[in-house]
Symmetry: C2
Subunit: 293 residues, 2 copies
């Protein structure tokens, strides 16, 4: 096994053309260089320098070693530099609710990449519930999720509310305009998964003081929701932004009476301030800016 020091010394020998000169250059004694390299060769079981009586020269194996190992030194120096100089770098594990992936996320990432080019992102899309847990477990650094499922003890910043609408494929169903709760409840409804807040909100609106509850299906995939509605499986409760961002769909928004209107989704962006203060603030700032315009 070899260490960084070994490579530095070998490189010095190569550059200065001998053990003696390398010793002068590094401030070590010549004997130290000789011993170090011999030990290294013994440990690794390879020949690094061929002793030619007078002087040494790098063997083919030795050249391979320096060639390859030099980049390790460069990488180490880069890592140290980034960590020390407070450069924002490394991997940010970002969790995003699917609703935000089409609208806010791309703008936010573009902003961030412009400000911190060394930053890399690892993005996962999941339910707010799962991501809240992951945030607590330090499996995610920053999460964009529904406000009501954000864990405690976490820095949260609200994002602009996402308005919800009722959508229908006009070639499959026809509804009065404006439609009332009874009109909507008569059809199958496609919504978010049943463990989520939006799903519960739909249920509350649709069953308020009624005998026969509406049939509400859940889907964890927005694309699936849109497709189901598109193909006449039922009507859907979908964020306006999402439908707008899906150019190829032919969905029509249903004009509904006030009591059937759905409350907007309230998203927050959150991070653990004890753990990811700096990066969390930066991502939050970018998200807020991306949400404004």
């Amino acid at each position: 096994m070899f260490g960084f020091r070994d490579i530095e010394i070998i490189r010095s020998v190569v550059r200065h053309g001998g053990f003696r000169a390398a010793a002068d250059a590094t401030g070590l004694a010549q004997s130290a260089i000789s011993r170090r390299i011999r030990h290294l060769e013994d440990r690794m079981g390879i020949t690094i320098f061929e002793r030619a009586g007078r002087g040494v020269r790098l063997s083919a194996t030795g050249r391979r070693l320096v060639d390859e190992a030099e980049v390790l030194i460069a990488q180490r120096d880069r890592i140290l530099e980034e960590l020390t100089q407070g450069v924002m770098a490394g991997v940010v594990r970002l969790g995003v609710a699917e609703t935000m992936t089409h609208t806010l996320l791309p703008r936010m990432l573009t902003t961030l990449r412009g400000r911190h080019p060394m930053l890399r992102f690892e993005i996962s899309v999941d339910t707010s519930e799962q991501m809240g847990q992951a945030l607590r477990d330090d499996a995610l650094d920053v999460v964009i999720m529904l406000r009501d499922q954000a864990p405690r003890g976490i820095a949260l910043t609200p994002l602009p509310p996402v308005s919800m609408g009722w959508f229908v494929s006009p070639e499959h169903f026809t509804l009065p305009s404006p439609a009332g709760i009874d009109d909507l409840a008569a059809l199958p409804i496609v919504s978010f998964p049943k463990t989520t807040i939006p799903h519960r909100q739909v249920l509350e609106v649709m069953t308020a003081g009624r005998r026969k509850p509406a049939t509400v299906h859940g889907s964890a995939s927005l694309a699936t929701m849109v497709n189901l509605v598109q193909q006449g499986f039922g009507i859907g409760t979908i964020p306006h932004d999402i439908v707008a961002a899906w150019p190829q769909t032919m969905l029509q928004e249903i004009d509904v009476l006030p009591e059937a209107k759905l409350p907007p989704l309230e998203f927050v962006i959150c991070h653990d301030p004890e753990r990811n203060e700096e990066i969390g603030r930066e991502v939050t700032r970018a998200a807020v800016e991306a949400g404004c315009d």
Copy 2:
């Protein structure tokens, strides 16, 4: 500054979830782990673990450090493995005479890549004279060059001879068929650079026992030679293979009398057996095979 050992220990702490467990796993005392990490943190001026009274947990900076530094360990292990297990890997500095770049070289490299996927090539194209010097200076590992300019004390293997022809652009010049030395010498001749063997051979053939020497131009670039002939600058002495490999040219071979025929070029592939025995043999083998079919 940090070393491989530091990273291994940090990683062990992370994997086993604490200093004590890491101590058991690594065979160190728990106090040693504690001291090492504290010392490392002091030296680098960063916090790697956040002490939470009971237990420690990786800080954001610490996670960045492990994330980035882990790949260094992996790379070191790979390098060691390659060097120790006799895997053919690393960079082979290959010098090739331009004549061989269109015919033998691609087949040879394909063969080699198939046999030794970890091998990388750094190819330089130069005159045989320069490359011979580079081989002596250990600036090249393997060289394909003209036999007569190969240095001494070097393992050389002959390659199939490369036949030379006289070529002309029929729209610019008309020559009798077969043409004699006088016919050829009446026109400007484009050949290899004037320090090279082929150039001298042309001169010898053209000036044997004559008063007025032929005008022989030299070019270090085959492409330039072909272009010059193509555009009527003169006639050219070019390897048959090269013209055949240049599909877009309209050159015509000149039928010449026996005394004007040029001897074939004799190439060898060579390496220093004291320095690059293994790789030299492998490259040579591939070259011989590529030259046969």
